[in-house]
C-alpha cells in the first residue's frame, strides 16, 4: 500500500497519524521537501588564471602603475639584502685568509696567580708546531732592562745621543715565520740560531735606514745595550704583526740569556692551515701547560658569520624597514585600485553571477588578479634589485653576491602582498548582489 501525503511544506503535524500498526508519524515531525540534486558550477584553475590575466591586462597602464609600489618594495628588499651580502663577502675575502688562520696566545698567569712564573715553557714553539694544522708558532716579547727601560740600539759601541731607543723584541724563529715577512736582503734567523743563542738580528728596512745601513755586504753590526749583534736580514713587510717593522728582532733564546726570562707580556703567534684555527686555539693551552691550561688564553680568529652580521645588521634594519614601508604602500595601492576596479566592473560581476559564477568564484577572480599584480611587481622588483646589486658591485669592483633564498622569497613576498591587498576588494565583490549589479 502506498500513501501519498500532500501537505504544504514546512507544516507540522498536529495529530498522530496511524498509517499501519507500528508505523506512525508523530506530532512535531517536520516534513521536508525532497531536495533536487543540482550539481554546483565550477571554475577551473586554468580558466581562473586566464580570466585574472585578462582582467589585469584590460588596463595595462593602470596595472603597471598599481604594481609600482610592490616593484619598489620588493626591489628595495632584494637590493638591500644583496648589497649587504655583497659587502660582507668583500669583508670576508679581504680578511679571511689572514685572520682565519691566525691564533694568538696570551700569558695570563699573573692574573690567575700573582706568584706564577711566566706561563710559556722554553720549548713552546716546538711543542705547538707539532700540533696538526699548525704551520708556524713561536713566542715573542718586548725586551726591557731590569729597570724597565728600553734598550739603546746603535751602530757603534759609543753612544751618539739620546735618540737611539728602538724597541727590541725577542722573537722565536717560529713567530718570525708566522708573521710572513718579506725579505729584501740577507736571510731570517732559524732554529739553529735560536738553539745556539747566536747574536743575530733581523730588522726592517726603515730601521736600517735610520741606523744608516744600506747593505749587508759589509756584514754590519748593531749594539743593543752594549752587546754586538750581526744583522743577517732586512725585511720590508710582514703580513701579520706589523709592529715588528718598528722593532729590532732577536732570537728569543739569545734575549733570554742576555736580559732574562720573558716578562708577563709574552705572547705566542701561531699561523695555521685554513679551517684549523678554532680547533688549535682550544688545544694550545693544554698542549703547553697541561698542569695549568688556565694560565694561557688563546684568541681564535673571529667567526666569519658573527663578523658579517655585526657589520651589516645596522644597515639591514634601516633599509629593510624602508623596504617594508614601500611594500605597505604597494599593498595599499593594489587594494585601492582593485577596489575601484570592483566598483567599475559591477556590471561584469552581475553578468558573471547570471552566467553561473558563485560569489566565491567572483572573490577568487579578484583575489587572483591582485595576487597576479603583486607577483608581477615582485618579479620585476626582484629583477631591478638584482640589477642594482650587480651595477653597484661592478662600480666598486666587488663580486656581486645575492643569496638564493632572497631571490626565491622576493616574488613570493610580492604575491603575498597582492593577496593581502586583494582580500577586502574580493570580499566586497563577492557581496555584490546580481540583481543590483545588472540593473546598471
Amino acid at each position: 500500500m502506498r500513501i501519498l501525503l500532500r501537505l504544504r511544506p514546512g507544516l507540522r503535524l498536529r495529530r498522530v497519524l496511524r498509517l499501519r500498526p507500528g508505523l506512525r508519524l508523530r506530532p512535531g515531525l517536520r516534513l521536508r521537501r525532497i531536495r533536487p540534486a543540482v550539481p554546483p558550477t565550477s571554475f577551473a584553475l586554468n580558466d581562473l588564471l586566464s580570466e585574472a590575466l585578462a582582467g589585469t591586462l584590460q588596463r595595462p597602464g593602470r596595472s603597471a602603475l598599481t604594481a609600482l609600489g610592490t616593484v619598489l618594495g620588493v626591489g628595495a628588499f632584494v637590493a638591500v639584502l644583496g648589497l649587504t651580502a655583497t659587502a660582507s663577502s668583500q669583508i670576508d675575502s679581504r680578511f679571511s685568509l689572514l685572520t682565519a688562520t691566525e691564533v694568538t696566545v696570551k700569558d695570563i698567569a699573573r692574573e690567575q696567580n700573582e706568584f706564577a712564573d711566566p706561563a710559556f715553557p722554553d720549548d713552546a714553539g716546538e711543542r705547538v708546531e707539532r700540533l696538526g694544522g699548525v704551520e708556524h708558532a713561536g713566542v715573542h716579547w718586548p725586551v726591557r732592562e731590569d729597570t724597565g727601560q728600553g734598550l739603546a740600539v746603535r751602530t757603534s759601541a759609543v753612544a751618539r745621543g739620546q735618540n737611539d731607543m728602538i724597541d727590541v723584541v725577542a722573537t722565536a724563529p717560529g713567530a718570525l715565520r708566522a708573521a710572513v715577512p718579506h725579505l729584501v736582503q740577507g736571510r731570517l734567523y732559524d732554529d739553529f740560531h735560536a738553539d745556539t743563542r747566536q747574536r743575530v738580528v733581523v730588522l726592517s728596512s726603515s730601521i736600517a735606514a735610520r741606523l744608516g745601513i744600506a747593505t749587508l755586504e759589509a756584514r754590519p753590526a748593531v749594539f743593543i745595550g752594549d752587546q754586538p749583534f750581526t744583522i743577517i736580514g732586512i725585511i720590508d713587510d710582514v703580513k701579520r704583526k706589523p709592529d715588528m717593522l718598528l722593532s729590532v728582532l732577536v732570537p728569543h733564546t739569545t734575549a733570554e740569556e742576555l736580559w732574562g726570562s720573558p716578562t708577563d707580556a709574552a705572547e705566542m703567534l701561531i699561523s695555521t692551515r685554513v679551517g684549523a684555527a678554532v680547533q688549535i686555539a682550544e688545544e694550545v693551552p693544554i698542549a703547553l701547560r697541561p698542569d695549568h691550561p688556565e694560565y694561557l688564553k688563546a684568541v681564535p680568529p673571529p667567526d666569519p658569520k658573527s663578523l658579517r652580521s655585526s657589520v651589516t645588521s645596522d644597515l639591514n634594519e634601516l633599509f629593510l624597514l624602508l623596504a617594508a614601508i614601500c611594500l605597505v604602500i604597494g599593498a595599499v595601492g593594489i587594494a585601492n585600485t582593485t577596489l575601484v576596479a570592483v566598483l567599475e566592473r559591477t556590471g561584469e560581476i552581475g553578468l558573471r553571477r547570471a552566467l553561473g559564477a558563485r560569489s566565491r568564484h567572483v572573490a577568487l577572480q579578484f583575489l587572483t588578479e591582485s595576487g597576479a599584480l603583486g607577483a608581477l611587481g615582485g618579479l620585476v622588483g626582484t629583477s631591478i634589485g638584482t640589477v642594482t646589486v650587480v651595477v653597484v658591485a661592478v662600480a666598486r669592483n666587488w663580486t656581486p653576491v645575492i643569496h638564493t633564498g632572497t631571490l626565491a622569497t622576493a616574488p613570493v613576498v610580492g604575491l603575498v602582498t597582492g593577496l593581502l591587498a586583494g582580500l577586502y576588494p574580493a570580499v566586497r565583490a563577492a557581496r555584490i548582489q546580481p540583481v543590483e549589479a545588472l540593473r546598471r
Partner: protein, 237 residues
C-alpha cells in the same frame, strides 16, 4: 529536469520587500509557461516587470509560494545550487547588452560556458557555432566597441543560447535599438522559437508585445494572462 514539466511554474509566487513599510512588489500569482512557448510580458514601468524577471531568472528568491523551473523546486535550493541552475537553464539577454568591452565577440560568448565545466576547445567551437546562428559568423574577432547596437545584442543572444538553456529570458532586448535593428532582433527570436526554444521577452513596448504568441500583463504587481488591452477591458467588466 522532467521533460514533461513546464519550463516556468509559479505556484502562488509573490515577493514582498521587508519594510518599513513593506512593499508587495509581486502579489501571489499563478503562471505556467510551457516548453516552446513565446511569451511576452508587458506592463507599465513600476508594475513589477523587473521583479518578475528577477524571480524567473533566479536572481531573487520569492518570499511566498513555490517556483518550479523545469520541474525543479527552486525554493529549497542552496545559493550555490540556485546559481548553478541559473547558469545552466537560463540564458539572459539584457537591454544594455552587458558585453565585456575588452573581449572579442567570440570570447564574450565563451564566457557563458566558463562556469559550467565545458572544456576550452569545446567552448570556442560552440561559441563560433552560436555566433553563426545569429548571423555574426564574420564578426567573431570584433570587439564590442567596434560593433553596432544590433550586432552587440545579437552577440548577447549568442551568449545566451550557447549553453543550450531551456529558457531565453530577455529584458527589454530592443530597448537600445532602432526600429530596423529591433525588427531584425525580434525575427531572430522568432526563428529561435520556431526551432523549439522557450522565449520570454519582458517589454513595455506594445509593438514588441504583439509579436509574442502569448502575452502576460503585469499591472500593480499582479500577473494577468492576456494582452494589456484585454486585461483592461476585463478589469472594467
Amino acid at each position: 529536469m522532467t521533460p514533461s514539466a513546464p519550463v516556468i511554474a509559479f505556484r502562488g509566487v509573490g515577493l514582498t520587500y521587508p519594510g518599513p513599510p513593506p512593499v508587495e512588489a509581486l502579489k501571489p500569482s499563478e503562471l505556467t509557461i510551457e516548453r516552446g512557448d513565446f511569451v511576452t510580458v508587458v506592463g507599465p514601468s513600476g508594475s513589477g516587470k523587473s521583479t518578475f524577471l528577477n524571480i524567473a531568472g533566479l536572481l531573487d528568491a520569492p518570499t511566498a509560494g513555490t517556483y518550479l523551473l523545469d520541474g525543479i523546486d527552486t525554493g529549497v535550493l542552496k545559493d550555490s545550487e540556485r546559481t548553478a541552475l541559473r547558469g545552466r537553464h537560463i540564458g539572459f539577454v539584457f537591454q544594455s547588452f552587458h558585453l565585456m568591452p575588452h573581449r572579442s565577440a567570440q570570447e564574450n560568448v565563451t564566457l557563458a560556458m566558463l562556469y559550467t565545466g565545458v572544456p576550452r576547445a569545446e567552448r570556442a567551437r560552440r561559441a563560433a557555432e552560436a555566433l553563426r546562428r545569429v548571423g555574426l559568423g564574420h564578426r567573431m574577432d570584433a570587439l564590442p566597441s567596434r560593433m553596432s547596437g544590433g550586432e552587440r545584442q545579437r552577440v548577447a543572444i549568442a551568449r545566451a543560447l550557447v549553453g543550450h538553456p531551456s529558457l531565453l529570458l530577455c529584458d527589454e532586448p530592443t530597448g537600445n535599438l532602432d526600429s530596423r535593428n529591433a525588427d531584425t532582433l525580434l525575427r531572430l527570436l522568432e526563428g529561435l522559437h520556431e526551432d523549439g526554444m522557450t522565449v520570454v521577452v519582458i517589454t513595455h513596448d506594445a509593438d514588441v508585445a504583439d509579436r509574442g504568441a502569448r502575452t502576460v500583463t503585469i499591472r500593480d504587481g499582479v500577473l494577468h494572462d492576456g494582452p494589456s488591452r484585454a486585461v483592461r477591458e476585463q478589469e472594467r467588466a
